[in-house]
């Protein structure tokens, strides 16, 4: 589809205005008190003028059909936003009492989201391939990591929460990944045979999908709750990793089974007949021809499984499974909102990363098969 880029240019202009007026940071007298917004220029950071100017530059580049330049400016803008937030926090804290906390404000999030969207959109306008997209994402993240490593962000409340919860945070990363890996393994172990059965035996199809559909629509909070009683009766304990993984696997089954089933069904009859006609055994036809051709759909299903599991594992903290959700609910309970962020932010990043990586993998496989 031919695209002129005017919506992106207009968004950049709106962003430039937003940068001047919205609360960029939020200052609170202590960790648990409500915060009041502080505008970008009011923070006193020297980076402030570059942000609206950068956005104007992006709008100009888009108006003159220079999406590559616009994209490069957007990448730099993302780094600038973080530098401005860190520097602004330092400026605000300079003469403030010690318990004062500075957090990201609504304006910061909106500008960050805008710049990230503009990076994606300028790449599309420039016709960038998947490799360039991945390289850009890695570049942006590497820059963010480098900025964080220089302690320029240490003044921000989020980083101070991290400093106090460092050990627990690292444990949460490990636990969250463990939940996801165990769930994926369980989903494959149970889902692949079920998908195969649904494809092979038409009579099993309706019951399998009916049950999995209902399971999928039971809200996570309710399923975790429903599993508590029978599991504790079975001696497995109603709380912790085991019930969490059981519930997560139950949710993961539908996309796994559906992915395999849809993949197997989508395969054209001609290669299968040719394979049988050339003397492949039934299992050779399945493994050499049918399964590889079904792989793209299966991968699309696994992508849903990963993204969904990373998100639901946050909720699993409610039944004591640990992971990033622990910070989220602990923070909500104390009204310590930067602690909430310490859990919510990495969970979101993990989900987005998994989503992007599996989409790339599925595209690669599809290109090989099509």
């Amino acid at each position: 589809m031919k695209s002129s880029g005017w919506p992106e240019a207009a968004a950049s202009l709106a962003g430039a205005l937003l940068a001047g007026f919205a609360g960029f940071l939020a200052v609170a007298p202590n960790r648990l008190s409500p915060a009041s917004p502080v505008g970008l220029f009011a923070t006193g950071t020297g980076f402030a003028p570059f942000i609206p100017l950068g956005l104007l530059l992006v709008a100009g580049c888009l108006a003159w059909r220079r999406p590559r330049t616009a994209g490069a400016v957007c990448v730099v803008l993302i780094w600038l936003l973080l530098l401005a937030a860190g520097d602004g926090a330092d400026m605000l804290l300079r003469h403030a009492p010690k318990p004062t906390r500075v957090s990201f404000g609504g304006g910061f999030w909106l500008l960050l989201a805008l710049c990230a969207l503009l990076v994606a959109e300028t790449q599309r306008l420039a016709g960038a391939g998947p490799r360039l997209r991945v390289a850009t994402a890695v570049l942006v993240l590497a820059g963010l990591a480098a900025i964080a490593a220089t302690h320029r962000l240490a003044g921000l409340s989020l980083l101070r929460e991290y400093a106090t919860h460092r050990a627990a945070f690292h444990a949460a990363v490990g636990r969250h990944l463990l939940l996801v890996i165990l769930t994926l393994a369980g989903a494959l172990l149970l889902g692949l045979p079920l998908g195969l059965a649904a494809w092979r035996y038409a009579k099993l199809r309706a019951p399998i999908f009916g049950v999995l559909n209902v399971v999928q629509t039971v809200p996570s909070v309710a399923l975790f709750g429903l599993l508590m009683a029978p599991l504790s009766a079975a001696g497995l304990g109603g709380i912790g990793v085991v019930p969490a993984v059981i519930a997560l696997v139950l949710y993961a089954l539908l996309p796994t089974v559906r992915g395999l089933f849809a993949g197997l069904r989508s395969v054209d009859a001609a290669p299968l007949e040719a394979a049988a006609g050339m003397g492949m055994s039934a299992s050779q036809v399945f493994l050499n021809v049918h399964l590889p051709l079904a792989a793209p759909a299966l991968f699309a299903g696994l992508r849903v499984v990963l993204v969904q599991t990373i998100g639901l594992a946050v909720v699993a903290a409610l039944i004591g499974a640990g992971g990033f959700g622990e910070f989220v609910f602990q923070g909500l309970g104390q009204y310590a909102l930067d602690l909430v962020l310490l859990g919510a932010l990495p969970a979101t990043c993990l989900a987005l990363a998994a989503d992007a990586l599996l989409m790339l993998a599925a595209d690669t496989i599809r290109a090989r098969v099509a």
């Binding site: 054209d268 001609a270 007949e273 040719a274 006609g277 050339m278 003397g279 021809v289 051709l293």
Partner: protein, 301 residues
């Protein structure tokens, strides 16, 4: 040689193949011809046991195929279908190597064989071996399909409407290429088609089927000149039968000594070709390569 003895296949109440007996001679092309639903494809699939017969048997070189393990049997028989059925996730070379790999040939022998086959079907190996099926045209894909069927050098080749989905020019091309390959390799071929022209062009023997029954079987000229019933006569074109007959008779058989102007026709040209040349040139005689001329008078005789 392949012999079909009293083959029967019924789906529910519908008899698809009714007591068909037929023998396909060695090193010749036997065409199973008939309208859609006449059972010709079912018969073909009963030969390599993709479809089990209800009763009757198939004998290949005096061996009952029922006694051979179906997978072993299929590896000895080349199989080409209308949709080609190339494996989209493998490149051309690996597609062709399928059966040799199943048979456990050494790698070097497979590579050499793939190259030889690509040459045979006129696809230069250096350009085509690494291509994916999605990068091939319909005609190229079917050439690969034929090469793949010939990979393990089977003595028997089954072909199910292999050229039906192609455009007329490509189809004509492939029919000629196939005929050449068949003559060079001396394969026994059973060929299914609903296209009369194709049957006359390629078949040494034609078996006409209707509603699962074998109506008439013999050399194409015999069916054309002595149709067993009205259905055969009708199928073979009624009024156009005379022209069709000319395609089956070689020009050399009516040649007389003499000279004529214009380009010479190839030695294996048919009388149909000769008539066409006379019509387009406005002459009453054409010369053949290797001497002799065909005159209009001789043609009409």
């Amino acid at each position: 040689m392949i012999e079909l003895r009293h083959l029967v296949k019924t789906y529910g109440d519908v008899a698809v193949v009714r007591d068909v007996s037929l023998s396909a001679p060695e090193a010749a092309v036997t065409v199973l011809l008939g309208p859609p639903g006449s059972g010709k494809s079912t018969i073909l699939r009963m030969i390599n046991r993709l479809i089990p017969a209800d009763s009757g048997s198939v004998w290949i070189d005096d061996e009952d195929t029922a006694a051979i393990h179906p997978e072993a049997l299929r590896r000895r028989i080349g199989y080409v279908i209308q949709g080609v059925g190339l494996f989209p996730h493998w490149n051309v070379a690996r597609n062709i190597a399928t059966v040799p790999a199943l048979l456990g040939w050494p790698r070097k022998r497979i590579a050499a064989r793939v190259e030889q086959l690509l040459d045979m079907v006129n696809l230069p190996p250096d350009r085509f071996a690494e291509k994916r099926p999605s990068e091939l045209s319909g005609g190229q894909a079917q050439r690969v399909g034929i090469a793949r069927a010939l990979a393990a050098d089977p003595s028997l080749l089954l072909m199910d409407e292999p050229f039906s989905a192609l455009d007329p020019v490509t189809r004509r091309d492939l029919q000629q290429a196939f005929r050449r390959i068949q003559r060079d390799t001396g394969k026994t071929v059973v060929f299914v088609t609903h296209d009369l022209e194709e049957a006359l062009l390629l078949g040494d023997q034609v078996a006409l089927l209707r509603d699962g029954k074998l109506i008439q079987h013999g050399p194409p000229l015999q069916l054309l000149e002595h149709p067993a019933d009205d259905f055969v006569a009708d199928y073979f074109g009624g009024a156009a039968a005379g022209l069709r007959r000319l395609t089956l008779l070689s020009a050399a058989s009516r040649a007389v000594p003499g000279e004529a102007g214009g380009a010479r026709l190839p030695a294996q040209a048919s009388l149909h070709d000769a008539l066409e040349a006379m019509l387009s040139r406005g002459t009453e005689s054409v010369a053949l390569e290797g001497g002799g001329v065909v005159t209009l008078k001789a043609l009409l005789a």
